[in-house]
């Protein structure tokens, strides 16, 4: 079975982000970058499927600047076999990303494509679903468990009503939620070895996809600041505040 994992380089999720004062976006220069956490779960899931005898080859692909090589190396150190960087310095919309990935899927023809359910920068949660549409494959989003059963997959999904288990045939697209697994930290020898694994860097123009943005980002602004609150000294005071607040609520 061949598995393709799509990963994204984002501002490290531990960094407290700062909106640029001119409203053009979020400050990313000089900020620590790393693999999107959800993507890391997707890579781990692929490696575990491989270890269980279900993955003959694991290919990771990232779309972004040259610097995104570092997240591909991380994935290779975790156990992926080969990397592809679709190189572009442009900020691409999710639709363009999905179209580029669809081209990669057409070339690689993987049985499973794994992605993180969303990137923690734009929080879009689009790419897996869009890729499934463009490649006409069934999808299992927000996966917290993946099992290979017969010729297909059984996937436990995190949904608003709790969880649900679905069966989907292959080839298919799966997006990873945080409860899927605990991503490994690659040991140093694996990190060294990753550098000798194949990594193809391909200019975005090679794919012939129209990347023109459909949306204009007018501005990016920080959230409204909350007024400083108070600390009360007793349960009675707290109860009085809650009672007052509840009595002032407008009925729905």
């Amino acid at each position: 079975m061949k598995i393709l994992v799509a990963i994204k380089r984002v501002v490290d999720h531990n960094v407290r982000i700062r909106v640029r004062p001119d409203g053009t976006g979020v400050e990313t220069s000089g900020v620590r970058m790393s693999m999107n956490p959800f993507c890391k779960h997707a890579v781990e899931a692929a490696v575990q499927l491989g270890e269980a005898g279900h993955g003959d080859e694991i290919v990771v692909v990232s779309i972004g600047p040259k610097a995104a090589t570092d997240v591909i190396l991380t994935a290779l150190a975790m156990g992926a076999h080969r990397g592809i960087l679709v190189e572009t310095d442009a900020e691409l919309e999710t639709l363009a990303i999905a179209k580029l990935l669809a081209k990669v899927v057409a070339e690689e023809n993987p049985d499973i494509v794994l992605l993180g359910k969303q990137a923690v920068d734009d929080d879009s949660n689009h790419v897996g679903q869009m890729l499934a549409a463009l490649t006409d494959r069934p999808q299992a989003t927000f996966a917290s468990e993946i099992r290979v059963v017969g010729q297909g997959l059984e996937v436990v999904r995190e949904v608003d009503s709790g969880r649900e288990t679905i069966a989907i045939p292959l080839p298919s697209i799966v997006t990873a939620d945080l409860r899927l697994n605990t991503p490994r930290n690659a040991a140093l020898p694996m990190v060294m070895k990753a550098r000798s694994k194949p990594l193809a860097v391909r200019p975005v123009a090679e794919f012939g996809v129209d990347l023109t943005p459909r949306l204009t980002i007018e501005k990016v602004s920080p959230p409204p600041e909350r007024m400083a609150g108070i600390t009360v000294g007793s349960v009675a005071e707290l109860a009085a505040f809650i009672a007052e607040d509840v009595s002032q609520m407008e009925a729905l």
Partner: protein, 307 residues
């Protein structure tokens, strides 16, 4: 300008999120509300009552993202907007619909500024993007908790539409939590518990019951098995915007704060005065939650708040 809005429903009942998305979308034009799935009778008649709905379309059949997408895609050509709530179904389905229609969607909309200008959160709500959608048609998901519900009293006609599609996906099992508490995503009051509550979540439930509140939990509490999955509030759980959020034994990790950003008032009960949520709260009480909560329930009962 016309809107095709897809209703959220569960077990034969219209979800409270839909009324909120209807009120948001009614700013954009008359709404045809599509009910897709099984057991749709009650759902359709509830949907027909919502103010702003021009008609209700019913597509009986399977409910899986690939099949639903085909039905929606077929109907979408007649509309300027295709919209659903940003719940787990809308998040699963609408990007797929958008890609089919070769449209870039705008998702998790929290504010509608005009016919093609929308505000959406990024970086877990630590920043907001104002976008202009330059496409001729728009696919949106709307964060229900950011809007008030549409009024009732309407009597829109109900029409059945062709929904003959097949799905490659098969539902094997649902794992649910049975609960009488209000819908978490749209509740007016939410009582949330963190890992510090431990296996004593019935304390949280008692307080929630006294206030007629929904119950929420942090990811850590859910991961530890103290609370069920569908109570999880945060970036990877439900996004809530209650009038009052009572955070108990919750430190306020970024992941959780992302889920409660829309809360109008926040009350924190925590033993750590330096916890991030204490700094953020409108009112905080520092102390042992196991002592405070029973006293608080008693005080609220005294104040006549018992439901």
């Amino acid at each position: 300008m016309s809107v095709l809005l897809i209703a959220d429903h569960d077990r034969g009942a219209l979800s409270p999120a839909t009324a909120r998305v209807v009120s948001a979308a009614s700013q954009l034009g008359p709404i045809d509300l599509l009910v897709i799935g099984q057991d749709t009778d009650t759902v359709a008649s509830a949907a027909a009552k919502l103010s702003g709905v021009a008609k209700v379309l019913v597509a009986e059949g399977v409910s899986a993202s690939d099949a639903d997408t085909s039905v929606i895609e077929r109907l979408a050509s007649g509309y300027q907007y295709v919209i659903q709530s940003a719940g787990s179904v809308g998040k699963d389905r609408m990007p797929r619909v958008a890609a089919r229609l070769d449209l870039m969607p705008v998702t998790d909309v929290v504010e509608i500024l005009g016919a093609n200008r929308f505000v959406r959160p990024i970086y877990a709500g630590n920043a907001f993007q104002t976008v202009t959608d330059n496409q001729i048609r728009h696919v949106l998901t709307i964060r229900a908790s950011a809007f008030r519900a549409a009024a009732g009293g309407n009597d829109a006609p109900i029409e059945v539409v062709d929904s003959a599609v097949t799905s490659a996906v098969r539902l094997i099992a649902e794992h649910r939590t049975e609960s009488d508490t209000p819908d978490l995503a749209t509740a007016q009051i939410v009582v949330g518990g963190g890992i510090a509550v431990g296996s004593n979540f019935q304390l949280i439930e008692s307080l929630a019951n006294s206030l007629g509140a929904a119950i929420g939990a942090t990811r850590a509490a859910v991961d530890a098995g103290y609370a069920p999955n569908d109570w999880q509030v945060g970036q990877t759980g439900k996004i809530i915007a209650p009038d009052l959020y009572i955070a108990i034994g919750i430190s306020g990790a970024l992941q959780h704060l992302a889920g409660i950003q829309g809360a109008k008032k926040i009350v924190a009960i925590n033993s750590d005065p330096d916890a991030p949520i204490v700094k953020l709260a409108d009112v905080a009480l520092i102390g042992d939650l196991f002592e405070i909560i029973p006293q608080l329930i008693a005080e609220l009962d005294k104040a006549g708040l018992k439901h």
